[in-house]
């Protein structure tokens, strides 16, 4: 099970470059070739019988499933044999019963490999409901670098794709794959809970004499293994329900049932599975040893960047801005390079690198000005890693920095602090995140858990949770309504924190000047049937340390609707906070995760047309829950209809026990957003 690449944040953001889209386009076309190879010409399946272990599954009862289940995993078996020299061999057997047309995808076997995880044998079979079995072999497979398609520029992780014939409803497909492994760490994870139900899953461990293991369970009660041979152990789980995807659920990795196995060789070998976060910290520290050595060029650059800075904070900000803006993100992941950064001097010379590289360079540059910093290995999605998890490298995909501020240094713009018992106050900084200012932290990293790598080892730490008041969208509109129902006026929208970062990324991706207005048009189109933007400006687009500002003027004809003698006006002119994510038939199984804490506010002042007065107003809404709150009010101030509202996310996760409250909350907001004020001709 190969997983590298500690840079998912940047990958996700950089999938649109021209060169990559060239490859993607070519690959897309090539996919036609692949489809042909996979479905017709290439796999010349022969009529060899499927092995006995598959035939033994033909009549087994299916695990519990509903009528939307595409397939069930009848059986999986993973045998890991470790030799005394530390080399490993694995045998994996998997068999699915296809239940629906959508289950055909389980007929495509995808096995990742690289130089450390060679595939020594690959077979696939199909037992059709009627007729003879099919068999396909290694030579029928194709190879692909799926990592390239997923946004990495260069990777040595490749995949073998083997299409099993007749993967149709009613049939059983299965495969066996044998691999020779030379893992960087003697550790393995067994993720036995999948998106489809599992009938039976087995994990077998064969150890050399004198070797030991340590098994840790997560999201599942510990199961004792049975001894099936000389220092050979087997774990079995049965009837494992599926982890079905839900919108805005925690990451699959954080909710799936799993076992993590650490192997301890005899004789105190250094290459052993992590026993503790400290172990993992030491391993990571070893990988980075020497990588933060400085160079004359780096020293010179630091001097140049900090020359005009008056305070240590200004100096740090200058270095941070350099890394954020001038070291472009490039993901090159070869071998151990998936975990090990390049040397700071190389990153500096080339002016590019991935998250590890950028963090390494920043750390080196900070060190030049006497500031210590430490790596934090983390997952870019909150709750993929939780405190109860055993230490393992596969759960992380990103790397950032914790900076120890010099004594006496403080600045109100620096807020992303955490306290460490040994190291004291640490400022968290992600140099890959180009738009979040130094001192702040984007929502996905807040209250997230990462491995703090220190000179003495490592510890799993919780990153700070910042106040919602740092992530805000404040909208203020001063508008006039005429008797024909046309609404016109000016709007100012001020965004701070993540909402500002998001808009900056959106505008950065705009291909041309005229596209920069499109986000406003999209926003308004969700609220106004008819509108023209007559003027628009963007403020502080490049000044990430300042709030992002939209100023625009609009005209919305027919905004107010006549109804007999009345005029109907929706006081909530624009913007929406309601969501329909819980309006589903199925009961929610997992918590709802918010992107981060935030607080929005709207103030809309609508000057009423001459000759009209308010006859009826929507009631105020005061919805207060532990996880969020919403307050709105429509009122009349003289000849002005004023609508104000605030929306605040107070907790980052809503447990299943409270999703009904959340659903009610969103419905209350939805009703308020549709509510209307009624104007009538004034009597005086």
């Amino acid at each position: 099970m190969i997983s590298k690449l500690w840079c998912s944040l940047a990958q996700a953001r950089r999938r649109t470059d021209m060169a990559r889209s060239r490859i993607a386009a070519a690959t897309a076309l090539f996919a036609g070739t692949l489809a042909l190879c996979l479905t017709s010409g290439a796999p010349r399946a022969c009529a060899s019988d499927a092995p006995g272990w598959m035939h033994g599954l033909v009549n087994v009862p299916l695990p519990e499933h509903d009528d939307k289940t595409d397939a069930v995993l009848l059986y999986s078996e993973y045998v890991l044999s470790i030799q005394a020299n530390g080399k490993m061999k694995s045998l994996q057997r998997v068999a699915y019963k296809i239940l629906r047309v959508g289950g055909k995808r389980y007929g495509l076997v995808v096995v990742n490999f690289d130089a450390e995880t060679k595939i020594s044998a690959l077979h696939g079979w199909c037992i059709p409901a009627q007729g003879k079995d099919y068999e396909v072999k290694d030579k029928d497979a194709i190879e692909a670098s799926l990592g390239v398609a997923n946004g990495e520029l260069i990777t040595d992780v490749r995949s073998k794709l083997l299409q099993i014939p007749a993967a149709d409803p009613g049939n059983i497909v299965g495969y066996e794959v044998e691999q020779e492994l030379r893992p960087y760490v003697l550790q393995d994870d067994w993720l036995f809970q999948r998106p489809i139900p599992t009938g039976e899953a087995r994990y077998t461990l064969q150890l050399p004499p004198g070797w030991e293991y340590k098994a840790a369970w997560f999201n599942h009660a510990e199961i004792a293994p049975s001894s099936v041979g000389n220092n050979q152990w087997q774990w079995v789980v049965k009837n494992v329900p599926a982890v079905k995807g839900e919108k805005e659920m925690p990451p699959w990795r954080g909710v799936a049932e799993q076992m993590v196995l650490s192997v301890i060789p005899s004789g105190g070998s250094q290459n052993r599975g992590f026993q503790s976060w400290d172990d993992m910290g030491n391993w990571q520290a070893g990988l980075t040893r020497g990588r933060r050595d400085s160079s004359p060029e780096i020293k010179q650059k630091v001097a140049e960047l900090t020359a005009s800075a008056k305070t240590p904070v200004e100096k740090m900000k200058a270095i941070a801005a350099f890394a954020q803006r001038e070291i472009r993100y490039v993901g090159i992941e070869l071998g151990i390079g998936g975990y090990q950064p390049h040397a700071a001097k190389d990153v500096f010379a080339h002016r590019y690198g991935d998250c590890k590289d950028k963090a390494t360079l920043v750390s080196t540059m900070l060190s030049e000005m006497g500031v210590e910093s430490y790596y934090i290995v983390i997952n870019a999605e909150r709750d993929a890693v939780t405190p109860g998890m055993p230490p393992q490298i596969g759960i992380f995909n990103h790397l950032i920095l914790a900076i120890k501020l010099p004594e006496g240094v403080s600045d109100p713009s620096l807020v992303a602090f955490m306290d460490d018992a040994k190291l004291g106050k640490l400022l968290i900084f992600d140099p890959t995140d180009e738009m979040t200012p130094f001192g702040q932290l984007r929502g996905a990293l807040q209250a997230n858990y990462g491995l703090l790598v220190t000179p003495s080892g490592g510890e799993l730490v919780e990153l700070p949770r910042l106040p919602s008041s740092l992530n805000t969208t404040e909208r203020f509109a001063k508008l006039q309504l005429d008797a024909k129902g046309t609404l016109s006026g000016d709007v100012r929208e001020v965004r701070r924190g993540d909402p500002a970062v998001y808009q900056r990324y959106v505008l950065q991706a705009a291909a041309q000047q005229s596209d920069k207005i499109k986000p406003i048009e999209t926003l308004l189109s969700h609220s106004l049937g008819t509108f023209q933007i007559t003027k628009a400006t963007v403020g502080n687009l490049a000044q990430t340390n300042l709030p992002f500002v939209y100023d625009y003027s609009l005209v919305a004809e027919n905004y107010a609707k006549p109804a007999g003698d009345l005029l109907l006006v929706r006081p909530r002119v624009m913007g929406y906070e309601s969501r329909d994510l819980l309006e589903t038939k199925e009961a929610r199984k997992y918590a709802v995760e918010f992107a981060g804490p935030w607080k929005d506010s709207d103030t809309f002042e609508i000057a009423l047309p001459a000759g009209y007065e308010v006859d009826d107003l929507p009631p105020p809404v005061n919805a207060d829950y532990s996880f969020a709150s919403y307050h709105s009010k429509a009122e009349v101030n003289g000849k002005t209809l004023k609508y104000t509202r605030t929306f605040e996310i107070k907790e980052l996760s809503v447990p299943v026990s409270k999703v009904d409250e959340l659903k009610k909350f969103y419905r209350e907001i939805g009703n308020d957003e549709r509510n209307t004020a009624v104007l009538k001709h004034s009597t005086n």
Binding site: F30, K132, A349, Q508, K516, T522
Partner: protein
């Protein structure tokens, strides 16, 4: 037909030609650095661009199988630095990308050469094919830098390929030069489309085709745009056997050849007469005969719509080759194209005047005979003279109702074949009344303001065909979900919906009907002591169309279509209607929209009609079209004012 020997490779290669490089042996030097380019901070013709191509050169020689490519890019913003990651795809066994040089010119004019060795990244490897990419990452790239790279590409297929110059790029191109030395053994035809203003047509310069261009706008993607092939500035090079330069003569010759092939496939008159005798009665009218034949051939197993299977599965299925219409009739299966010719053969055997017609699907290109590319006539239909009128049929496209064609074949030029080559015809386009969605709802409003009741949705014509084709290989549960999701997409708020009938997914009936029970939570909104009921229950699809004020490309709809809504809402007993919105009618030649709301003793009756008759509209009409849809949204947002009764007040 050497150039068609490896058709799969041809299609792949055409794409590669779009994206990658050309070759020339003697272009070793970098272009001189222009100080104005160094100091450039923006380009007036491309305001706000992240980067622009300052210069691009493509030189191809189809005699030596080589291509030279040169690209110079100015980085204008931080976002533009992504263009410094260069990936050059190639086929490992049959191509060699060599001589790759690259460098960064810093804003101060100093140069950082790419010194390393390009990395080779495997993309896909399968059965003798190895598709790789040479990857370089240019060093020290900052805003203001110029990056450039050049390389040679040599292939050794020993085959000659069609190729293209796609002038339109994701980036604005300030200047570009292209050349092609055609293979001297095979005739080649040059055609072009949409060349930028001021760009002269390709010229023949002593046996080399050359083109120079400049100020080519960056290509933009927009909603409702025609096929990209049609919009991008391009030059196509097509190798073939014919040297004919006159379209009329070219198509006459091509038509004769194609007609011979088709007549050969259908040349089983006796067998067809026997077959048709089983289908029609001599007393049937011509139209009835045609309908019966159409219905019968659509029962033939259409292998073109079956999921791809492995070679072994094919072997086990013992599929026989189809050489003529008699084989097809006896075996009971064939491809879509073959089934269409069976229909033609049977129609003729029934005494009807019918012709084969080759058409070009407008989902990919807008065909013009001037191009003289016979490959673009890529589909077949049948023309039948019925009651003095030309009528068109394509029973080979699964589920296509009698009397209409699948949308990519409507309104396109077709070559009606005969022994003399044939004549050009234009297929018909069904109007919006044919391809419509009718939504009839019988609902009641609850005291809480929710709507509940029955909804019947009728998808007709091309709307029904599209849905049946999309769900052809799915199971009943997936189709049910799909239908319910269709309804969810109609209504602008979240709803509960349950499909209650079993729609006829597997026929060519002109309609596909779904019956649902729906619940629309909180449809009536509050207005103090009153409540408001919006008239546009099915208005969601129009909420966000054409939301942007600017437009670059023409507007393109697949086919004319209409929406007809008829909704009755029974109010709670003690609720009273205060006011109804006025009727609205906006009848245009291209688009029409009308709504009407009536109160019939406590039952609201809402009707709405929206139709679009056009397929293509020029960009200059975008403003009017956008205004029209704004009017639609305004109309849909009209409200009925009601006075809730005491029971509602209690809630």
């Amino acid at each position: 037909m050497l150039y068609r020997r490896v058709s799969l490779f041809l299609s792949i290669f055409c794409l590669c030609a779009v994206v990658r490089a050309p070759h020339r042996a003697n272009a070793d030097d970098w272009q001189p650095i222009n100080p104005a380019e160094l100091s450039m901070t923006s380009v007036p013709e491309a305001p706000g661009a992240a980067a622009v191509i300052l210069y691009r050169q493509v030189d191809r020689d189809d005699n030596t199988d080589r291509e030279y490519n040169y690209v110079r890019i100015k980085i204008l913003t931080e976002e533009g630095r992504k263009y410094a990651n260069v990936e050059i795809p190639f086929f490992k066994q049959s191509e060699d990308v060599h001589g790759l040089k690259a460098r960064t010119i810093r804003p101060d004019g100093t140069i950082a050469n790419f010194e390393g060795k390009p990395l080779e990244q495997m993309i896909v490897k399968a059965k003798g094919l190895k598709y790789m990419a040479k990857v370089i990452v240019l060093p020290d790239v900052q805003v203001g830098s110029i990056i450039e790279y050049r390389y040679n590409d040599q292939w050794n297929f020993s085959l000659v390929y069609n190729s293209q110059w796609i002038l339109s790029n994701e980036l604005f191109t300030k200047s570009a030069k292209f050349s092609l030395k055609p293979n001297s053994y095979f005739p080649m035809r040059t055609s072009w489309h949409g060349l930028p203003t001021g760009t002269a047509a390709p010229r023949n310069d002593k046996g080399v085709v050359r083109l120079e261009t400049g100020n080519v706008p960056a290509f933009q993607i927009e909603d409702y745009m025609p096929p990209q092939n049609e919009l991008k500035a391009r030059v196509d090079f097509t190798y073939g056997e014919s040297t004919e330069s006159q379209p009329e003569k070219f198509w006459k010759s091509e038509g004769k050849k194609r007609n011979e092939g088709i007549e050969g496939f259908m040349g089983k008159r006796k067998a067809m007469e026997q077959a048709v005798a089983q289908i029609v009665s001599p007393s049937d009218t011509p139209e009835i005969k045609l309908q019966k034949i159409y219905a019968r051939v659509q029962q033939v197993r259409n292998t073109g719509y079956e999921p791809e299977v492995s070679e072994q599965e094919k072997k086990r299925a013992k599929v026989k080759s189809i050489n003529n219409v008699e084989d097809l009739w006896k075996n009971g299966y064939g491809s879509g194209g073959e089934i269409t010719w069976l229909f033609l053969a049977l129609a003729r055997a029934a005494g009807l005047e019918a012709y084969p017609v080759l058409v070009s699907r407008r989902s990919e290109y807008f065909f013009t005979p001037q191009t003289m590319d016979s490959h673009r006539l890529n589909d077949n239909v049948v023309l039948v003279k019925l009651n003095g009128k030309d009528t068109y049929y394509d029973p080979g496209t699964l589920f296509t109702p009698f009397g209409i064609l699948p949308w990519p074949e409507t309104g396109v030029a077709g070559l009606r074949l005969d022994k003399d080559g044939g004549t050009w015809v234009t297929t018909t386009v069904p109007d919006s009344a044919v391809s419509r969605i009718e939504r009839k709802a019988d609902l009641r409003l609850t005291d809480q303001g929710s709507l509940e009741g029955k909804l019947t949705v009728t998808f007709a014509g091309l709307e029904a065909l599209s849905m049946r084709l999309e769900m052809n290989n799915e199971d009943e549960a997936a189709r049910k979900t799909y239908m319910e999701n269709q309804v969810r997409e109609f209504i602008p708020v979240s709803i509960e919906v349950e499909l209650k009938n079993q729609p006829d997914w597997k026929s060519s009936a002109p309609t596909l009907v779904g019956e649902f029970e729906i619940k629309v939570q909180g449809w009536a909104s509050g207005a103090g002591h009153r409540a408001l009921i919006p008239v546009g229950l099915f208005s969601a699809p129009e909420k966000h169309v054409f939301e942007h004020a600017s437009r670059v490309h023409p507007i393109y709809f697949d086919f004319p279509t209409a929406r007809l809504d008829d909704v009755t809402i029974e109010l709670p007993l003690d609720w009273k209607v205060n006011s109804m919105p006025p009727a609205h009618i906006d009848e245009g030649k291209v688009c029409a929209y009308s709504t009407k709301a009536e109160n019939k003793q406590g039952t609201l009756h809402l009707t709405r009609k929206l139709s679009v008759e056009a397929i293509t509209l020029e960009t200059k009409y975008y403003g009017a079209l956008r205004n029209f849809f704004q009017v639609v949204r305004t109309g849909d947002d009209q409200q009925i004012v009601v006075q809730p009764g005491a029971s509602a007040a209690a809630n």
